[in-house]
């Protein structure tokens, strides 16, 4: 089984606001502690859009091409990330919850070649990374508008 981490949290932001913010992956610069920079290199945000993401992961900077695999406004977002050593999925499920939302964030990682040696280390590190990511993500989302 590939290293996977899932976290569910609530935010005061409405599902549509959460969706619009997260569907634009350039916002990962703000909400993802691992992202150093993220720019759009192809497309306008729809399925098939490609982003160049520079992430710092366990002390090393790597470039990952992300693309938008699924978008279902306002409940489902799925990005896939790829480079020579890495294949990953970021999936966000957004559920109406009172005036705000409940967000389930799932990150799945797969490593190719020598990078596979890092899997046990990544598995050990993932829970901490996930907690940090979710804290920052929630802070960013709570600034967005809630349902009327």
């Amino acid at each position: 089984m590939k290293p996977t981490v899932t976290r569910t949290f609530t935010t005061t932001a409405a599902p549509e606001a959460v969706f619009d913010y997260l569907a634009d992956f350039t916002n990962a610069e703000e909400w993802d502690p691992g992202t150093v920079s993220c720019e759009r290199t192809y497309g306008g945000g729809e399925v098939g859009t490609i982003y160049r993401n520079v992430s710092s992961f366990m002390g090393r900077e790597t470039q990952i091409a992300y693309s938008t695999a699924e978008l279902e406004r306002p409940t489902r977002i799925h990005f896939t990330g790829h480079n020579e050593q890495f294949d990953g999925h970021d999936v966000l499920g957004i559920r109406a919850h009172g005036q705000g939302s409940e967000v389930t964030y799932t990150a799945e990682f797969a490593f190719n070649g020598v990078a596979r040696l890092a899997v046990p280390l990544v598995k050990a590190y993932l829970p901490r990374l996930a907690n940090k990511t979710v804290d920052q993500l929630k802070t960013c989302l709570d600034r967005l508008p809630s349902s009327a």
């Binding site: 089984m1 590939k2 996977t4 899932t6 569910t8 599902p15 695999a69 699924e70 279902e72 306002p74 409940t75 489902r76 799925h78 999925h89 999936v91 499920g93 957004i94 559920r95 109406a96 919850h97 389930t104 799932t106 799945e108």
Partner: protein, 330 residues
């Protein structure tokens, strides 16, 4: 992920015993499991006696096994229960039997073949015109075809009856179900099957009735969180549950050997229906998107080999979206 606990957390020993019974299956899923759990401290409270007074609840597959017990328990809580059945004459007999036992029960019989999407859409249109508000739907209808069978729309029949039909019916009734509850009756058999997004029609390999059945139940719970997100926009709470091992006509016909061994400890229908009824009647409403058994949220995987990656779940969701025309509706 830690399964959600509804209400007050029971003491540690009670929780440990409950979980141990669940993982052993034989203890947890039989009548023993439910009896012990009911006696343990922290057993979630029953719904109030008039919890469903004045509310309309639909039960599919209402004319046999768990369906009959579900209808009767809902009626006892004051609901107007709509028996959704394929065979209207049989449904009428069941209605009359229940009415004899419970003269005050509000019961109606509707014909719908859940395995045929045209009929599901027709039915949803008719009942949706008549009822402006529906409190809940319990998708209880089940089949275990002895040979591989296709629905009118070309879906493998257990997948059609257990997932495709229920999704289309729920989607069509979203306005009426706003703020309401939907339950998918699943099966513990899913624990032995991995999601087969590559073959939802069971076209590869030798068909087996029990495998097809369990695969369709696996597909239900894998799609559960995504569907729960979707329908949350209308305030609809979607849950799935499994009844344990009950002595139903399905088990009697399809699993005679299993029944011969386990019969003394199989649950009766009312025990099997307990969690479905609890999910639609209890206040406050339990959180959506979870898989329940004996009034507690349970994991959807007990074996590492049934865990599926995001690719598989996405492919299954794409298949379900196409099969149910969800795109067109949104």
């Amino acid at each position: 992920m830690t399964p959600y606990q509804h209400g007050r957390r029971p003491p540690l020993v009670a929780r440990a015993l409950d979980t141990a019974m669940d993982r052993s299956m034989v203890l947890g899923y039989t009548t023993i499991g439910l009896r012990v759990r009911r006696a343990l401290p922290g057993w979630p409270a029953d719904p109030s006696a008039d919890a469903l007074e004045g509310k309309d609840v639909l039960v599919t597959g209402a004319s046999s096994g768990l369906g009959v017990a579900t209808v009767e328990a809902l009626a006892a809580l004051g609901a107007t229960v709509h028996l959704v059945v394929r065979d209207e004459a049989k449904g009428e007999r069941v209605r009359a039997e229940i009415a004899q036992r419970r003269p005050d029960a509000q019961l109606r019989v509707w014909r719908c073949d859940v395995g045929d999407l045209d009929d599901v859409r027709r039915f949803a249109g008719v009942i949706g015109d008549e009822l402006s508000t529906i409190h809940a739907v319990i998708h209880n209808a089940g089949v275990m075809p002895p040979e591989r069978t296709e629905s009118a729309q070309g879906h493998e029949l257990s997948m059609a009856v257990h997932l495709v039909g229920p999704v289309v019916m729920t989607e069509a009734l979203r306005p009426q179900l706003a703020g309401g509850r939907v339950v998918l009756v699943s099966s513990g058999g899913l624990y032995g099957q991995v999601l087969r997004a590559d073959d939802p029609g069971f076209l590869d390999g030798d068909y087996s009735p029990t495998t097809a059945y369990a695969r369709s139940k696996r597909m239900q719970v894998e799609m559960l969180p995504i569907l729960a997100d979707r329908w949350s926009l209308d305030g609809i709470h979607l849950s799935a549950m499994h009844p344990g091992w009950a002595d139903t006509p399905g088990v009697q016909d399809s699993l005679p050997r299993f029944r011969a061994i386990t019969r003394p400890v199989l649950r009766d229908d009312a025990q099997g229906a307990d969690t479905s009824v609890w999910l639609v009647a209890v206040e406050p409403v339990p959180p959506a998107g979870l898989f329940w058994h004996d009034r507690r949220a349970r994991p959807i995987n007990l074996l590492p080999t049934t865990r599926v990656g995001q690719d598989g779940r996405s492919a299954a969701w794409a298949w379900l979206t196409r099969s149910t025309d969800l795109d067109a509706g949104s």
